[in-house]
């Protein structure tokens, strides 16, 4: 049962990832990324962290990708035209990435890393110890991330706003 769920969602994740990188229209890329991230959330549940799965769907697919869609629709980014040229770069990139993945997979397979897994225990999946860890041992990173998010909000607001009329006349002078 677990194997069936893993295979279905792993294949779904890979197929939609291919659509993300290959489709001409960026809106379809974003929607395929939604499918990929949702499949990854299911895999997170299988691997024993339902909290991260819920957070992934809530934060990543529910907010970040919606933001991507907004920007695409706001800027009216159209279909990417097929481009001539840079063929060599494309094939070098593809070959390099495939080599990298193959090297990593070879590393995992040859060292038999984590080849077996014991079924999950309640203790492992439990939310309370994780939360306790977050708010006691890892409190400093938590607060720093909060500060980072504040900085990001300020940065995004400043970068994306229209220059006010005084600034425009300032620049054109």
């Amino acid at each position: 049962m677990e194997l069936a769920i893993f295979l279905i969602f792993a294949v779904l994740a890979v197929l939609s990832a291919v659509v993300v990188i290959a489709h001409r229209n960026p809106v379809f890329s974003v929607l395929s990324l939604v499918v990929t991230l949702f499949s990854l959330a299911v895999l997170f549940v299988l691997a024993g962290s339902p909290l991260l799965a819920a957070l992934q769907v809530l934060v990543y697919t529910g907010a970040i990708l919606v933001l991507f869609l907004f920007v695409i629709m706001l800027l009216n980014v159209g279909r990417e035209a097929a481009s001539p040229g840079h063929v060599v770069q494309k094939w070098v990139a593809i070959a390099g990435s495939v080599l990298l993945a193959a090297a990593v997979v070879l590393l995992y397979v040859s060292t038999h890393i984590a080849a077996h897994a014991v079924p999950l225990s309640k203790q492992f999946v439990d939310l309370v110890p994780l939360a306790r860890e977050l708010f006691t041992t890892d409190l400093l990173p938590f607060e720093i991330v909060g500060l980072l998010l504040l900085a990001a909000v300020v940065a995004a607001t400043v970068l994306a706003r229209r220059p006010s009329p005084e600034e425009e006349s300032e620049e054109s002078r």
Binding site: V57, L58, M73
Partner: protein
Amino acid sequence: MSFEFWATLIKMVVWLAVLLNVTPIMVWVERRGSALIQDRPGPNRVGPLGLFQALADALKFIFKEDVIPTQVDRSLYLLAPLLALIPALTTYVVIPFGPQVMLHGHSVDLVVTTADTGVLLLLALASLGVYSLVMAGYSANNKYSLLGAVRASSQMISYELALTLSVVAVLMPVHSFRLDRVVEYQHQGAWLGFLPHWNVFPQIIGFVVFLVAAFAETNRLPFDLPEAESELVAGYHVEYSSMKFALFFMGEYMSMAGLSALLVTLFLGGWSFPGIAFTGVWWWVAIKGLAILVAKMAVILGLFVWVRWTFPRFRFDQLLRLGWKLLLPLAILNLVLVAAMTLGGWL
């Protein structure tokens, strides 16, 4: 198949039966309720008191010509109405409709899943509702649809924040994400000796924030600018006809029902009612719990209809200003107050 499997399946069927009946009943309530408020008769020809009006509407939708405009992006256009239903249909899995019962020697929790991530699961699935709007608006290749879709999705994600913060405040005294624990917390004791131990009394600010945010999440008046008939020519719905439009319609009513169920569970005591004991045969307990929950949901859905026909709608910038500058600070204030009260031992 094991006992667990069959029990879960039956619970899901019970909930589906409730949810699928919401739309026809709400259509009637909406039309007769609006007629009452506007001092006119409303539908009264199809069956006694116009009760079969929803059936007539459904037949109309089925027989209407299914037009697919040529300029639309077909795959997204056809997928969007289906996606409108999925979040609405999955959010009921963590809402309890009764206490634990004993059945054939097994103890069964009257909730479809007792996952530890409880309400977080519900919020995560509900946040996927934005995509059907966006896909509908974008695929139609039409200025008005796109504008409606962008407005609707920015409205939904803005009010999700206030919604989530008011939910978090409720979870603090309960020390768990699970909604069945939330209802158990509200089932015992009383405030000031006579009020039921519901969360609405100490957390009235959170209740109001959740209610307003629920109106905005479901695109109901006074926040329905993205889909108003007199504004953007029905906004992101404009290119849809017959059954596809009916699917959007159903999705909206079902998500209203889902959010009402969440509101009732978090703030108004869920399946519990002071004075009614939940002892006895397992099916009697389940029926009592479900009936009380549905009755409370009906009150809130009536409130939805009442508010719709009473208030004028918000302009879009007023809407966003309300969400970010009023509701979010109020939700944070509520959170701080509840944290203080929990630490002080009053909750």
